[in-house]
Amino acid sequence: MRNPRFGDGDGGRGRGGRRKVDRFLADKTLVIDYKDPSTLKYFVTERGKIVPRRVSGLCAKNQRKITQAIKRARMIALMPFTTVNAH
């Protein structure tokens, strides 16, 4: 039986938005590596912020790994902390 409090049954995604799947679970050959910025870049915004889990669609474990990897990559200047975009 569906819980009426979470009525629409699509995981609380009331308006629009497709349920994303965890890319690292879908493709076992993909690994999270801080030395590989080309994979990590999908999980940061244009400004360089880490994308939240509700947007990235990663499972909790992989989101933690991605966060760790992005922070490590930042330390050795493989990824930016911020991108200075003067408007």
């Binding site: 030395k35 910025p37 490590r72 050795i76 200047a77 493989l78 930016p80």
Partner: protein, 126 residues
């Protein structure tokens, strides 16, 4: 405590983009000197060359990257980091622990086997 457990680390260090070949060799030499002193087992040592930085470090946009993997006793990385900190041409470094509690008696399990040895083992198993 005769048999202290070993650890596997990876180290990335960045050298000043305007460093001469001698300076770069000096940094590399100091690192391998420390590794030797501590009896570390080097697994790989890659030169990534001059790469673009994601942000400026000391007003520079590029740096020479070196990436190493090794197995060694605890305490070695502190010494490496101390040495790198003293070298002005090294602008940034990062060590990451990959594995902990490696039994020195079974060290060969963690070291990449030379191909000849692998073949010999297969023959022995057959």
């Amino acid at each position: 405590m005769a048999n202290a457990k070993l650890r596997k680390y990876e180290l990335i260090y960045l050298v000043h983009p305007e460093a001469t070949d001698e300076e770069r060799a000096r940094v590399a030499g100091r690192v391998s000197q420390v590794l030797e002193e501590y009896g570390a087992h080097l697994i790989s040592n890659e030169d990534w060359g001059k790469r673009k930085l994601a942000y400026e470090i000391q007003k520079f946009n590029k740096a020479y990257y070196t990436y190493m993997i090794f197995i060694t006793k605890p305490g070695t990385t502190q010494e490496i980091e101390r040495v790198l900190r003293m070298l002005d041409s090294c602008v940034r470094f990062q060590t990451i622990k990959l594995l902990d509690g490696i039994d020195p008696d079974h060290l060969d399990r963690y070291l990449p086997e030379p191909e000849a040895a692998t073949e010999a083992k297969e023959e022995a198993d057959a």
